[in-house]
Amino acid sequence: MNVGNLPFIVSALLVVLGIYTLLFKRNLIKLVIGVSLIETGVNLFLVMLGYRSEGIAPIYTFAPAGERMVLPTPQALTLTSIVIGLATTALLLSFAVFIWRHYGTLDVHKIKELKG
């Protein structure tokens, strides 16, 4: 149980909160928020993997001389992951608007029972 890993524990906590929201909430918009929480936790974990202690940002413009740089590859992968999360959330919300138009309610338990 290593308490020096606090950034990793925080990102795992975000994923745990997202899983709680997906399991125990009934409104469709709250489920979309849960999915977004899980994606945020995973992106934070990906950036935290590439940190070197006492490192500076991997940019050479006005950089202080003689310092180590953090690893730049996880930051590039996180950029792609954020854009894909945006695309997923946009489509999920469009489906939520359609379901509300068709059924009149956003409750997940009621949508299974009504017939269109």
Partner: protein, 156 residues
């Protein structure tokens, strides 16, 4: 959302919209020197458009919005990105042909910390502009279509 907001909000947002546009274009243009680039700058410009939509309402911007024009611009951005990938096909796909070459965006950069030269890095600024155009028009068209599509059914 059909009414928009009060006079103070509308006046201030007309002024602030230009400032946000300039900042977004700055972030896109200097993507190879400072943190930023196509995706980040495109999101900033799209947020300026969302500010206008919130302040004026969908009815206030009725005559000037065209979701199909925005989608066509997004397709232009995607095709431009693909064409820039084919520029150096003699060596490899996505080969940077213009770097260190002396033509457009072809200056060389001194090794180590320096103070940034704007016309360096070859095809990188061109790709930043293509991706920035794609992201800003794509997010703007998503926001317009969801707002107008959701509201119209409610008033029927």
């Amino acid at each position: 959302m059909n009414g928009g907001m009060s006079v103070i909000v509308r006046t201030v947002s007309r002024f602030v919209y230009g400032l946000i546009l300039v900042f977004g274009f700055y972030v896109i243009m200097h993507g190879h020197l400072t943190p930023g680039g196509g995706f980040q700058g495109g999101a900033v410009v799209a947020s300026a458009f969302a500010l206008l939509l919130v302040a004026f309402g969908a009815a206030g911007l009725k005559g000037r919005l065209n979701a199909h024009l925005l989608q066509s611009l997004e397709e232009v951005g995607a095709l431009a990105f693909l064409a820039l990938g084919f520029l150096g096909i003699g060596t490899a796909f996505f080969y940077n042909l213009l770097a260190n070459s002396g033509s457009l965006f072809g200056a060389s950069v001194p090794i180590g910390p320096n103070s940034g030269i704007l016309d360096s890095a070859g095809t990188l600024p061109l790709m930043n502009w293509a991706v920035g155009l794609k992201v800003m028009t794509g997010i703007a068209s998503i926001v317009i279509v969801m707002l107008i599509g959701a509201r119209k059914e409610e008033t029927e």
